[in-house]
């Protein structure tokens, strides 16, 4: 009896030490993660001279909204925002229209050819034709410089299909489907009337995964689009915060870009941090509320299918 009590006291002391170190560790991790983010926000509303001289290192000094005024005065930002919202909304709708029905069909265990389709789709995760053949395909299909070049090549992701399939396999009870079949429900009716309403959580997760992907994507858009009116935000961002700054690091630039870049360079110090905030804000704002959905998505996906 006394030995057990002693044991408990000893272990609780060990517990306490462990908890203290564990908490300190996590606080350090949090600070390391948070610091660059706070710095960017602070720098975006601080006097540029204070930022460039290093006097501003945590909280804003010399509050000013000049950076944001410049950013919002830039028509490229508005065009980019408009296009990004368009690509994100329609791209995500297309993703869902492809992913959810496919996942439902693949979740049907008795579907003839299920193994074949699984393999056919999974194989693309481990092997691809490469960048140039994709580019040539898009060119051959006459999609270059159209919105379809942005929407179609990313119409589905096998990873997300697997997550959705696993969700449907584990959460929709077999009995429910059987009951619907006995009641004379066709597959389509089952899908639209029963499965879709029950899949609301996974649809939310998928919309978020795909949506963030569209919002942040730049490379496909950069190589497939040449009309500036179709550029999404990230492509303009690349011009504004990467090319201008790389220039100071010795990157050579084309003469056509030189003039606009010289102008932007004068302003770069003020606007670069504001642009980062403006472009990331929508995601950072919605993210804390949607975080549990994201996490749920990964958790569902990690259950062995």
């Amino acid at each position: 009896m006394s030995a057990a009590v002693k044991n408990r006291i000893r272990s609780s002391k060990g517990d306490l030490v462990f908890n203290i170190f564990n908490t300190i560790f996590l606080i350090i991790v949090t600070i390391i993660t948070l610091y660059p983010l706070i710095f960017v926000v602070s720098a975006s509303i601080s006097d540029p001279n204070m930022v460039n001289s290093g006097k501003m290192w945590l909280w804003p000094i010399g509050f000013t909204l000049d950076g944001y005024n410049r950013v919002f005065a830039n028509s490229d930002i508005w065009i980019g925002y408009r296009n990004t919202i368009f690509y994100t909304v329609f791209g995500t709708l297309l993703n869902l229209a492809v992913t959810i029905p496919c996942a439902y069909a693949l979740a049907k265990k008795s579907l003839p050819g299920r193994k074949f389709f699984n393999f056919l789709f999974l194989f693309t995760m481990f092997f691809s034709g490469g960048l140039i053949p994709l580019y040539m395909l898009v060119k051959t299909l006459l999609l270059l410089d159209t919105i379809w070049a942005v929407l179609l090549p990313t119409a589905a992701s096998i990873w997300n299909i697997i997550i959705t399939r696993t969700f449907l396999e584990t959460t929709i009870p077999d009995g429910l489907e059987e009951a619907a079949e006995i009641d004379g429900c066709s597959t389509f009716m089952k899908f639209f009337k029963i499965i879709l309403p029950l899949s609301a959580p996974i649809i939310a997760v998928m919309a978020l995964f795909y949506g963030v992907g569209h919002w942040n994507s730049y490379f496909n858009e950069m190589i497939f689009l040449s009309d500036r009116n179709k550029f999404p935000l990230q492509v303009f961002l690349r011009e504004l915060i990467i090319i201008t700054q790389m220039d100071t690091n010795g990157q050579t630039i084309t003469s056509t870009e030189a003039q606009s870049i010289a102008e932007q360079q004068r302003l770069a110090g003020i606007i670069k941090y504001s642009i980062m905030v403006v472009s990331t804000l929508p995601i950072i704002c919605v993210y804390p509320f949607l975080q549990r959905f994201f996490v749920k998505g990964v958790m569902v996906g990690s259950i062995k299918g």
């Binding site: 029905p101 003839p112 193994k115 092997f127 994709l134 010795g250 990690s302």
Partner: protein, 319 residues
């Protein structure tokens, strides 16, 4: 994540000919196939289409003759790549960045997950999770913009700290030997929190009885982590390792391309950026496709090798 076991064969119990089964399958399941159709079309066109088009790696692609009209040259482009002056530099740069990233990046999400798993206070746990996942949602362009701004030799905050401590400002992105570290550690900053989610999920499956039994046996917290929690997430670790090693030769061009400058290409030029430059910038379609195809094949072979080893050693496998 892992492949499911083979589904029990379709409802047809009696042996029927393939044709009969096909007709019956189509009759009973045609609506499922229609639901499958958009995805099938997508994968065939945009994933298998480029694989078909990759045959120009074995031809001298001439635009107005098309894929089939272009003359067959066999492995010429591959040989040219293997014998080219850049070959070993590209392989070395790619491997340095990816192996460095794999080794340095692998433990962090696991440590974070194990640590978070020990937190009893829900509020604190949620806050840490929310903050550490956040960087994952920052776009590559913004991430690189932040890096370039922070590492700037004259105005960057990191150099301000260095000079404040009496050091000399370092032009990080112009120093070629620093490139792999910049790439890898910024990736760790961005990916650790999100990477931990999958391990947290695995840890939530550890049976409380097992932990209780360990407590009764007098195991300390560290001992419980070491002897109960880590073995519990070991299969997940192996799966992640297999997946990561399958992409050893494919360092993403998206981030590298943005951080590249002529001053650091000696270490920052990797296979994927080389493919982009030779292919889309200098329009050597066939050669560039050959380089990309070489990359894909090596990745696939690596994945199969590591997966086979993992299956032999502890029966964990992707498929």
């Amino acid at each position: 994540m892992t492949q499911t076991k083979a589904a029990p064969a379709s409802g047809t119990k009696r042996k029927k000919s393939l044709g009969q089964r096909f007709v019956k399958g189509l009759r009973d399941y045609w609506q499922y196939y229609i639901l499958l159709l958009p995805a099938l079309a997508y994968f065939l066109i945009f994933c298998y289409g480029p694989m078909y088009g990759a045959q120009i790696a074995f031809r001298n692609f001439i635009a107005n003759k098309g894929i089939w009209g272009s003359p067959w040259v066999g492995f010429d482009h591959f040989v040219r790549f293997f014998k080219g002056v850049y070959f070993w530099d590209l392989i070395r740069n790619t491997l340095v960045i990816s192996v460095y990233g794999l080794i340095a990046g692998f433990p962090f999400p696991i440590i974070l997950a194990l640590s978070l798993n020990e937190v009893k206070n829900d509020m604190f746990k949620k806050t840490v999770q929310t903050i550490t996942y956040a960087p994952y949602f920052i776009s590559t362009v913004v991430m690189c913009g932040m890096l370039i701004a922070f590492l700037n030799p004259s105005t960057g905050i990191i150099n301000k700290f260095i000079t404040a401590l009496g050091g000399e400002a370092i032009p990080f992105l112009s120093k070629e030997n620093m490139f792999p570290s910049i790439y890898v550690w910024s990736g760790i900053w961005q990916g650790t929190g999100w990477g931990s989610v999958i391990y947290i999920a695995a840890l939530s499956g550890v049976s409380p009885e097992l932990l209780e039994a360990a407590t009764l046996d007098g195991a300390s917290r560290m001992q419980k982590i070491w002897y109960v929690n880590i073995p519990a997430i070991f299969p997940t670790m192996v799966i992640m390792l297999i997946l990561n090693s399958g992409s050893l030769l494919s360092v993403g061009y998206e981030k590298i391309y943005l951080l590249q400058s002529p001053l650091n290409t000696a270490t920052s030029e990797v296979i994927s950026t080389y493919v982009y430059k030779t292919g889309l910038v200098s329009a050597q379609y066939s050669f560039s496709t050959a380089v990309g195809l070489f990359n894909s094949v090596v990745n696939l072979v690596l994945l199969i090798i590591v997966n086979t080893i993992a299956r032999k050693l502890n029966e964990t496998s992707l498929w």
